[in-house]
Structures are given as C-alpha cells and as structure tokens.
C-alpha cells in the first residue's frame, strides 16, 4: 500500500556556513494493506517529517514513493484523494460544530452537499459523536476533539490514514477509546500509519513497527519479533551515585554468576542487565555486588520492551532521549 525507496529530506542549517541538517536520510518502507504501521522513536527522530512527506505536505529531496497506487512525486493530487492525514494538533475551528467541520471537510474533497451531510451523519455515529455534534468544538474534551480529528481524516474513506502522535496529551480512558477507533478502521480494511514516542502504544496498537532514530530506520518488524531479538529478561539495578562502573566490573569478573547476554550502564547510578531466568539470577547478582562492597538500591525485573530494542541498536533509551 505504501512503498518508498531512499526517501530523504534535509533543511538548511540555522547557523550560517554549516552543512544542511538531514531530517530524514533514506527511508525504505513497505507497508501492507490493512495493517497498523507505526513509526516509533524519540522526539526529533524524523517521524513527523516522514509522515508529512508521505501526506504531500513536504516535498522530499530525493527517493521514490508510491502511496495507494499513486506516485508521490508525479501525482501528489491523486495521492491526496486516496489518503487522510491527522496532524498532531488536529485542526478544528473553535467556533464551529463537529457536524459543520465534517460537512466542510467532505465538501473540500469534492463531495456534493447532500452527500456531505449524509457522510457527516455516518461519521458522527461511527465515532460516537452524535451527542455533541451540534456544539462548538471549543466545548469538547481532549478525547472528543481527537475523535473529531480522526473522523475528519477519514470522511472521504481514504485507503491510507496517517496519524501523527494520535494520543499525545490524552488521559488513559480517551487513549483507549482512540486505539479502539484506529483498530476499527484497520478492521474495515484501511491502512493506518501512526507516529508515536510511546513504547506501549507502539507495542499494543501497531501490527508492525519501524524504530527510527536520527532520520533513519534502525529496526523494523512486529513488536513480538523485535522484542524476541532481546533474549532473556531485563534486570534493572539501582546503585549509589558514581557506583555503576565499579558494579559492572564486579559482575563481569565474578566467577560462577549466571551468564549475562548484555550489560548496560544506566547513567552513573544504575545497571541494566540482560540474562536468562532473571528471577533466579537476582539473588546471585546481589550477593556478588555485596561481596564487592557495592551498595544496591532498587531492583526491578522486566520483560524486554521496545525500548530495550532501541537501546540495543542505538545505545540510548527512548524514554531518556
């Protein structure tokens, strides 16, 4: 449904005489019809720029892209007919009602008046907005507004829907509601592309995820396969300030400990260990640290998350970048 090769975009540097800044450097994608595809990455990774290029809002510097059968470079107008796009901030007018916005959006897509009214009605029902359809948008809660935004994005039944950070700033209940709507659209056959910097969102919502950093893709796959790359459990050990190096040395050199797959320093005051059967290993680890005279604080045992995948590929954590 979406195929790109080497899609790239750079911006002139803000400082004079500096080379241009590469916002997106050569992204290859192959998004299948009817899947929820996610771009996961820290802020500034190039997710939004990529999405805006695919949605015809920014012209890429280079590469190729076909979206729903239309060529992004040769025929952006046709691409626009086949896609919907919902920006992070939405784009509703305070003084206008949801129904008025939906009718207008349908008409901007070239629909006649009667048909636009009918579609607006349908959308209001599908997104459970009927109750406050005729109140001005300024009176809506964050979650209601988000549902209006998405309803606006799909009023013309596009083949592909792009959502930029669809649940930023929402409370957990509204967030769940938005996820339900996105899954419903997927189940109706729409291809959905979302950007997110929430690990749990990528994990729970997306069928497939591209992890992006510094304008490039660092890993791609289903959340399950990505996490499977990180073998074993994750043990997080909190330490006193500046103790991390000494603790790491102690664990690496101590004989008779469970085998570590990987060991990462977490800033100055913690360790992140990857190893099999973490629960059984914890007492051994603590004993070893105690023997080396290292004082330990909190200990946590986790299943690997997408953040561990990001960390393994980039050496940084999404939550900390």
């Amino acid at each position: 449904m979406i195929e790109t090769k080497g899609l790239s975009k750079s911006y002139p540097s803000k400082k004079r005489g500096q080379p241009p800044v590469d916002a997106v450097r050569g992204i290859d994608l192959d998004v299948a019809p009817g899947e929820i595809f996610g771009f996961l990455g820290p802020n500034g990774a190039g997710k939004t720029t990529t999405l805006r290029m695919l949605a015809t809002l920014i012209r890429p510097d280079g590469g190729e892209a076909r979206i729903a059968g239309a060529d992004l470079f040769a025929d952006p107008a046709e691409v626009r007919r086949r896609i919907g796009y919902v920006a992070q901030g939405g784009g509703t007018t305070d003084a206008v009602t949801a129904r008025e916005e939906l009718v207008m959006q349908a008409r901007l897509h070239g629909t006649g008046k009667a048909e636009a009214l009918r579609r607006a009605d349908e959308a209001l029902q599908a997104f459970e907005l009927t109750e406050f359809a005729d109140r001005p948008c300024r009176t809506y809660s964050g979650g209601q507004r988000r549902r209006v935004d998405i309803a606006l994005g799909v009023i013309h039944s596009p083949k592909v829907l792009f959502l930029d950070e669809p649940t930023v700033g929402l409370d957990p209940a509204s967030r769940g509601h938005v996820w339900t709507e996105i899954r419903r659209l997927r189940d109706e056959g729409m291809t959905v592309v979302v950007t997110t910097h929430y690990l749990d969102e990528a994990d729970a919502l997306c069928d497939r995820v591209s992890i992006v950093d510094h304008g490039g893709i660092v890993a791609e796959g289903t959340p399950e396969t990505l996490k499977r790359e990180i073998s074993g459990d994750v043990v997080l050990i909190g330490l006193g300030a500046g103790e991390a190096e000494r603790a790491a040395k102690a664990l690496r050199e101590q004989p008779g400990l469970p085998e570590l797959h990987r060991l990462e320093l977490r800033d100055e005051d913690g360790l992140r260990l990857y190893l099999d059967d973490g629960a059984a290993a914890v007492p051994h680890l603590l004993r070893a640290l105690d023997g080396a005279g290292v004082t330990t604080g909190t200990v946590q045992l986790q299943r690997p998350s997408l953040d561990d995948v990001f960390l393994a590929r980039t050496g940084r954590s999404i939550e900390q970048s």
Binding site: R80, T92, T93, H109, G110
Partner: protein, 254 residues
C-alpha cells in the same frame, strides 16, 4: 469551475466565522466614524486652496481617502487571523485535500473584501448628512476600485503571514509597511498640497493612484483620466498580489 466552487466553500465558512464574532465589523466601523465626526470638520479651512468651500466638498475629498485607509489597514491586518488558523492546523488540514490552493486564499481574501465593503457602505451612509453627494454609477465604480484594493491588501497580508518566520514579527512588519503606504497616497490630505518631491515620490505608490481615482469618482468626474489609471494600476497590482500569495499557500509549510 472547481476554483469557483472551492472559493465559494472557503468564503462561506469564513463568512460563518465572521458572523459568529460580529464584534470585528463594529470595531472596524467605529474608528472611521471618529475620523469622520471629529477630524474631517477641521479640513474645511485646510482644503480651501483646493477649491473646497463647503462641507460637502470637503467630504468629497476626505471620504475617499478614509475608505482607502480602511482598505490599507483593514486589509493588511487580516493576516493575523491566518496566523491563528495556521497554528490550529486548519490550513494544513485543507492542504491535504484536493481543494484548490488559490481558493484557500481567494475565499479568505474575498471575505475580508466583503467585510471592508460593508464598512465602506456604512461610512458612506453616515457621511451623507454632512452633505456628501455621489452619483450611483460613480459610487459603484469607487466601490469596485475599493474592492480590488481590499483584495490586494488582504492577499499581501496573507502572504506576509505565510512568509514570516515568527508570529511576533507580523505586527511590526505590517505597521512599517502600512504607514508610508497610507501617507504616500495622500489619504489624510491630498498630495496636491504637498511639495514637488513628495508628489513625485507618491507617483511610485500604487495606492496613490487608487486614492486619486476614488477622489475623482467622488467628485463626480467619472471621465477623469485618474479613474481608469487608478483602476488599471490597482487591477494589475491585485493580480500580482493574488498570484504571489496563492503560490505561498501551495508551497509554504508551517
């Protein structure tokens, strides 16, 4: 056809928004009324050298200038509303649809033009009791000239809003632009009273030609060459401004 339809759609929505906050029309009218009531009467003495001996003749010279000021300032300030729409993502949402880019500009600029014309009609009516008399054809032509002027300044203002790197820059830029434009078109006092160097400078200002044309129409000289010259200059400038601004609407990313 599609352009006309899309323009109408955008225009309708903009009109609805204005209708829901009618305060702006009132604000737009109040200031000119103050000028009409509290400033124009001073001019009778001042304009005597130009042959204005009665209040009626004074208002024939002053009112067209006032209407031009309305277009210059009102039009150039309309870009502020676009800043809000840009920030709210409304323009971006429209740009992902197949809607005509020119319509996104024209629908908005025409809304502003209509609003300014409504204000102009109100001001003209208020000037009647002071003795202002204009023939219907002349008035129609004057409003046509004014409409083009408003379309031009609105288009320029939207263009500025799209070009500026920061919202805070809008007010100083617009003020710096509007001041000399207004002064160099002789809106307060005709430039016929000005020294030669000022007059020759004003000839480079398209708004000067517009004001001259409107004054000729209000004085009943429809055949005066200032009329067709004003219309021509303004029509050319309006086309250029709309072209420039529409291009920005389709390419500029914010």
């Amino acid at each position: 056809m599609k352009l006309a339809r899309d323009t109408w759609l955008v225009f309708q929505r903009q009109l609805l928004l204005m209708w829901r906050t009618p305060i702006w029309i009132a604000v737009g009218v109040i200031q000119p009324i103050f000028y009409l009531l509290l400033f124009a009467p001073l001019l009778k003495q001042v304009l005597a050298p130009m042959g204005a001996t009665t209040y009626a003749e004074t208002y024939q010279i002053y009112v067209p200038g006032l209407l031009a000021v309305l277009c210059i300032f009102g039009g150039l300030y309309t870009g502020f509303s676009l800043l809000g729409e840009l920030k709210a993502g409304i323009i971006e949402r429209a740009r992902v649809t197949p809607v005509s880019r020119l319509a996104l500009l024209l629908g908005r600029a025409l809304r502003e033009t209509v609003a300014l014309l409504v204000q102009a009609v109100i001001i003209t009516i208020i000037a009647l009791p002071f003795g202002l008399r204009v023939g219907p054809l002349n008035l129609l032509l004057a409003f046509l000239l004014m409409g083009l002027l408003a379309l031009m300044t609105s288009a320029i203002s939207y263009g500025i809003a799209l070009v500026l790197p920061a919202d805070e820059a809008m007010a100083p830029v617009v003020n710096t632009l509007a001041q000399p434009i207004a002064l160099l078109s002789g809106v307060l006092l005709p430039l016929a009273l000005a020294p030669m160097w000022l007059q020759s400078m004003a000839k480079w200002n398209p708004f000067y030609w517009a004001v001259e044309g409107m004054r000729a129409l209000f004085s009943g000289h429809v055949g005066d060459s200032a009329v067709w010259q004003g219309l021509l200059v303004v029509a050319v400038m309006t086309t250029a401004a709309v072209y420039w601004s529409a291009r920005l609407f389709s390419t500029r990313v914010r």
